[in-house]
């Protein structure tokens, strides 16, 4: 059963900006849900709607079996970690942590000693015990981040909201806090909604990831589902680094062979690996393939040869060493393809190579709607236009 549920939520701001259009989304109890998308996609608005800092124009928000529309933030039992931490600068770390409990002391029926105990427990858990007497100004970025986290945890809310909490940290610290967050979630098992524009955070943290764009949900699923089976071109392009290769071109059948063409770019495609349905506007398609699904066709030594019909002759333009791997940018008949391959392969810019795309892993998209197209089985291949299809 959904613990947190947004039901066709629309948010239009006073200036007419439409931030969300009929967003429906649910998170189970204890789930780590990540909202990801480019800036302005409505992900932070979603968070603020759940927090009660904004009210939806339409739709309902349910939390723990009650509709929380119209409830002020303090009555929603949610805790939020802000991008800039929003620690109270005039209070010590201890008072920052205790503030939320003191404000609700009567509601929660807490004694002073219990508040003290909870604050110290959380400080202990996050390793900020020695900072309790300091003011936020005296803390480092990472320490402030922990205090902000602690202020949320100490309240034991029904749901945690994170608004890009790692974006102000340097790369090393970010990886560290990311790991801590994952550990924390495993420990306290509370629903978390996490907003980020960083696809790596989304992939690594989320039990499920929801991709938003222009206030609309594009797809929601496990990180692996989104990565392997993106519903549309946007999701495919948004997730994954280096970015997925996309080539818009035409599927042509000639003398029994199915070929994908884009200008001078030619690629033979086994008939079983083309979409089942004719996309809108004829056989124009977007072919997409992840950089790790293209390999260098290679025999022994440095001799490359044409081994398969799908192999593509290309020229390496840029080589980016990533340490364990390297990224090759190749020009292939006027089309730029990105290839992720082991760093051990000696490749120089300007070199001619043969690329071998793993076509079973490639994806096809409708260029008009951007939707992913299911592959057809062999029996359907007669749908491909042209004559002489033998399958």
């Amino acid at each position: 059963m959904a613990w947190l549920r947004l039901q066709s939520v629309t948010k239009v701001y006073a200036d007419g900006t439409v931030a969300l259009r009929g967003l429906s989304l649910a998170a189970a109890q204890g789930e780590f849900l990540v909202l990801v998308g480019p800036s302005g996609c409505g992900k932070t608005t979603t968070l603020r709607l759940i927090a009660g800092l904004e009210e939806p124009t339409e739709g309902e928000i349910w939390l723990g079996g009650r509709c929380i529309n119209g409830l002020p933030p303090r009555k929603r039992d949610v805790a939020m970690v802000f991008q800039n931490y929003a620690l109270y600068p005039h209070m010590t770390v201890y008072d920052n942590l205790a503030f939320g409990l003191r404000m609700r002391r009567r509601e929660l029926g807490l004694t002073k000693a219990e508040i003290d105990q909870r604050v110290r427990d959380v400080a202990e858990m996050l390793g900020i015990g020695r900072l309790l007497d300091k003011k936020p100004a005296a803390l480092s970025g990472g320490e402030r981040q922990r205090v902000a986290l602690g202020r949320a945890i100490v309240r034991r809310p029904a749901v945690f909201l994170f608004d890009e909490p790692l974006s102000n940290l340097d790369a090393q610290l970010r990886a560290e806090v990311r790991r801590d967050l994952k550990r924390l979630h495993a420990e306290i098992q509370t629903t978390m909604v996490y907003v980020t524009h960083d696809q790596i955070e989304a992939m690594t943290l989320g039990d499920r990831v929801a991709v938003l764009r222009d206030g609309q949900l594009q797809q929601v699923g496990t990180p692996q589902q989104l990565y392997d089976r993106p519903e549309n071109l946007f999701v495919a392009c948004f997730l994954g680094s280096p970015r997925i290769n996309t080539v818009e071109g035409e599927l042509v059948v000639e003398s029994g062979r199915v070929q994908f063409r884009c200008g001078a770019f030619r690629m033979d495609v086994p008939p079983g690996l083309v979409p089942a349905d004719v996309p809108q506007g004829g056989w124009r398609l977007v072919w997409a393939i992840r950089p790790e699904h293209i390999s260098l066709a290679r025999e022994t030594g440095n001799n490359y040869n044409v081994a398969e019909g799908t192999d593509l002759a290309a020229r390496v333009t840029v080589v980016e060493p990533w340490g364990r791997e390297q990224v090759l940018y190749c020009d292939c008949g006027g089309v730029e393809l990105t290839v992720l391959c082991p760093a051990a392969l000696a490749v120089r810019p300007g070199q001619q190579v043969l690329l071998r795309p793993l076509l079973t892993e490639s994806l096809w998209f409708d260029p008009t709607t951007g939707r992913r197209m299911e592959l057809g089985c062999q029996a359907r291949s007669e749908k491909v236009p042209g004559n002489g299809m033998t399958g």
């Binding site: 800092l53 100004a137 402030r144």
Partner: protein
Amino acid sequence: MAQQTGSFSHTGLTPQRWLAAVGFYLAVGVWIIVPGCWTVAQAFKQPRDVHSLRWIPWLEYQPTLASWRETLADPQLRRTLRNSVIVSVGATTLALLLGCPAAYALARFRLRPLGAEDTLLVFLSQRFLPPVVVAVPLALMAQRVGLYDRLVALIVVHTAFVLPLVVLITRSAFLDVPPELEQAARLDGCTMVGAFVRVALPLAAPGVAAAGLIAFGFSWNEFVAALMLTQYRAQTLPLFVASSEDTWGLDMGRVAVRCLIAVLPPLAAGVAVQRFFIRGLTLGAVKG
């Protein structure tokens, strides 16, 4: 190079520019300090010395406390001083109580149909009006409602005068407080008012203190309204200072003493609120 320019090097100025700067500050200093020194000197002179340009006590003139004794013994001093304190403190308190919430609203909320900036301009436009223009109507109104020569009338009028400035200054102080802090407080269990009182107000304290000081100074020095709205009972210190003239003419020694007495309370108020002007109070609230 750095050796040559010597002590100027840390300022990054050439010696000529440095001299020009020093000269400028000296001129400003003389402009400000000399009248003060003159007043102090006058306060300790005998009547026969007040019109002379003598500066150094004991050498050029024989100092005396005669003017002080006379002024301090004057029952009018005690009354006007008390009135001034009541009016200034009252008007400042009232202006802050009304001004801070107004400024906060102007800093945080969308106002329609006028935006916050335009609303502020409407507020401020009151201050462009010369007080003399409203003084007579105000006096007539005060008489009609029975507040003529009463402190309440002065408090209300002074509050109205300083309110726009208080709103302007405290609004910019509230704008400097990150709204996330209040949002965090609201999620932590505060009402909107609670977030204002517990988070926004303490963080805007330096601005509020500055606004309070300016309001106090204005009300303390205000003359025209005090002149028009009072007769005797509610007279304030500026009127007392101005009334130094008697049938024998203007006694400069008496004027100087009254001026010095009038300067002391605002000075004390300035020192008292100084501790609020701690820079960088919001430092570390958000991202380092």
